[in-house]
């Protein structure tokens, strides 16, 4: 945890619209993206957002659809705050932080209908593909949500499904692969509030000082598909609307890093 002196300095700088690492208030840290690094997974991607590092693996299983969506595949997102990623992460069952992280990443993908789940049906009402998106946080230096969402999207875009046919009620694998059908590209943008200032992509030391954070997930046409406020402070209505405008703008830039048009 940063010292009180450092925390004060960060707050002071931001009130003068400057940041400790020299970034503008609306700048993201540098993103390094690598895909396909885990061959055992059907899809994978690693994002380094500054020093925050998240690895996402996508795996398939076959299973039953949910009763109220018999003709759709299933998506499930899990996140693990791996203990080696931070002195504050402890081994054990998922705590509220990892659950919130997983559910926010999930919301972006699900609500934007990024995965064409209707194309994941093997036998209508009986058998579908279950897509497991596992978020693995390897180093925590702030803004896990944006890093994880970016990595999850990249991993899904990297995901290959095996070709198959259904013969006599059994799934037979055929040679070759096809990409997982993706229809949307949700990007999560997190802003931190410091009094009356909004700051994009807070680093860990900024997170320790901020009043609160607001994550706005934007899909490819600029619509908002998920929002999550976190932290103990608050936002005014004006700040919330301003944040949504900044998020929509920044999401376009970030999307270009993952989706090559």
């Amino acid at each position: 945890m940063a010292s009180k002196v450092r925390q004060k300095r960060i707050a002071q700088l931001i009130s003068h619209e400057k940041r400790l690492d020299g970034r503008e208030l609306t700048d993201y840290r540098e993103v390094q993206l690598e895909t396909g690094l885990i061959e055992r997974a059907e899809g994978s991607a690693r994002v380094r957002l500054g020093k925050t590092e998240v690895l996402v693996g996508v795996k398939f299983e076959m299973g039953e659809p949910f009763p109220d969506t018999p003709n759709e595949g299933v998506l499930t997102v899990n996140a693990e705050l791996v203990p080696l990623a931070s002195p504050t992460f402890e081994p054990g069952p998922p705590d509220e932080r990892s659950i919130e992280l997983a559910r926010v990443v999930d919301r972006g993908i699900r609500e934007s209908k990024a995965i064409a789940t209707d194309e994941l049906v093997i036998e209508p009402g009986k058998k579908v593909f279950v897509v497991f998106v596992d978020v693995y946080v390897l180093n925590h230096d702030g803004n896990l949500i944006d890093a994880s969402s970016l990595a999850a999207l990249a991993a899904l875009l990297n995901t290959k499904m095996f070709n198959y046919e259904v013969k006599e009620g059994e799934v037979k694998i055929k040679p070759g692969y096809k990409p997982l059908p993706i229809r949307n590209y949700p990007i999560a943008v997190t802003l931190a509030k410091f009094n009356d200032k909004l700051v994009v992509d807070p680093g860990l030391d900024e997170e320790e000082v901020m009043d609160a954070r607001l994550t706005i997930t934007v899909e490819k046409d600029g619509k908002i598909c998920a929002i999550q406020k976190g932290g103990y402070g608050h936002f005014t209505a004006e700040q919330v609307v301003e944040a949504s405008k900044i998020a929509r703008q920044k999401s376009e830039e970030q999307r270009k890093l993952v989706v090559k048009e």
């Binding site: 659950i99 934007s112 609160a212 908002i224 999550q228 402070g233 608050h234 209505a237």
Partner: protein, 256 residues
């Protein structure tokens, strides 16, 4: 055993399934101090939602190592009873309940003067006895009243209400059916005296303009909720005031 989706959620006169207009909240009633053991408690009925909130504290923190040196630790638990929903829900805390416990805590803590009671804990329990959409908002609303009933000093009461989009129209206070079949649901919690939003979540799809309108709509709902909260607290303590006038009272003529 899932519910059948109704044909239309909003009719040609812009009236919703339960007879409400787009900006109308469900009928809401709050009772204060209904649990004998808790330091503070309250109960809310909002449409079909039935939710109980109880507060214990400030009290010694157990386990001790969790105590904070400079303020009280607020712990909150949002939980749904197995019989509260259409299909019985397992009593074990689900991921959703854990996430909601977190965001609810974060929505209420800004209003509490936790710095007055270092090393103690304030434990808040929200039990959903019957659910029909918007339970985290109703939960925050009733929890805030329970905190006031416990005599815990607060900057303000926090009121919460959800706005959303159903069949293309922005509406206030969605029921479960409206949430499931609609295009967006956006719970919001508000601290009126500071013009502060302390909880904001959304799932669904909204354009930038729709989002801004939804925020304003939800805040309007919160202002109505705030009045209901204040009235409920006043009602509890006004019963005790029965018989009092503005002037000095004379001794004789007083009924026991």
């Amino acid at each position: 055993m899932s519910q059948k989706k109704p044909e239309k959620l909003i009719d040609e006169n812009d009236i919703r399934l339960d007879g409400r207009k787009f900006n109308e909240m469900r009928p809401t009633k709050i009772e204060v101090g209904i649990l004998a053991n808790a330091d503070g408690s309250a109960y809310i009925e909002q449409g079909k939602n039935k939710i109980l909130a109880a507060v214990y504290g400030p009290r010694e923190t157990h386990p001790k190592h969790l105590a904070l040196p400079d303020r009280a630790l607020l712990r909150s638990r949002y939980h749904m009873a197995p019989f509260s929903v259409q299909e019985r829900k397992s009593p074990a805390p689900s991921r959703r309940e854990l996430e909601l416990s977190k965001v609810i805590r974060e929505s209420l803590e800004p209003s509490i003067f936790t710095e007055y009671y270092p090393r103690t804990s304030i434990d808040l329990f929200i039990e959903v006895l019957q659910a029909d959409g918007g339970t985290r908002c109703a939960g925050i609303t009733v929890a805030s009243v329970a905190l006031a009933d416990a005599g815990i000093p607060m900057r303000d009461l926090i009121s919460a209400c959800a706005a959303g989009k159903v069949e293309g129209r922005l509406v206030l206070d969605l029921t479960d059916v409206e949430d499931k079949a609609g295009e967006a649901d956006m719970p919001l919690a508000y601290q009126p005296s500071a013009n502060a939003i302390t909880l904001l979540q959304m799932d669904g799809m909204l354009t930038g303009e729709e989002f801004e309108q939804a925020v304003n709509l939800a805040m309007e709902g919160c202002k109505q909720v705030s009045q209901i909260q204040k009235d409920a607290l006043r009602a509890k303590y006004t019963v005790a005031k029965e018989g009092e006038g503005e002037k000095e009272e004379t001794e004789e003529g007083e009924e026991e």
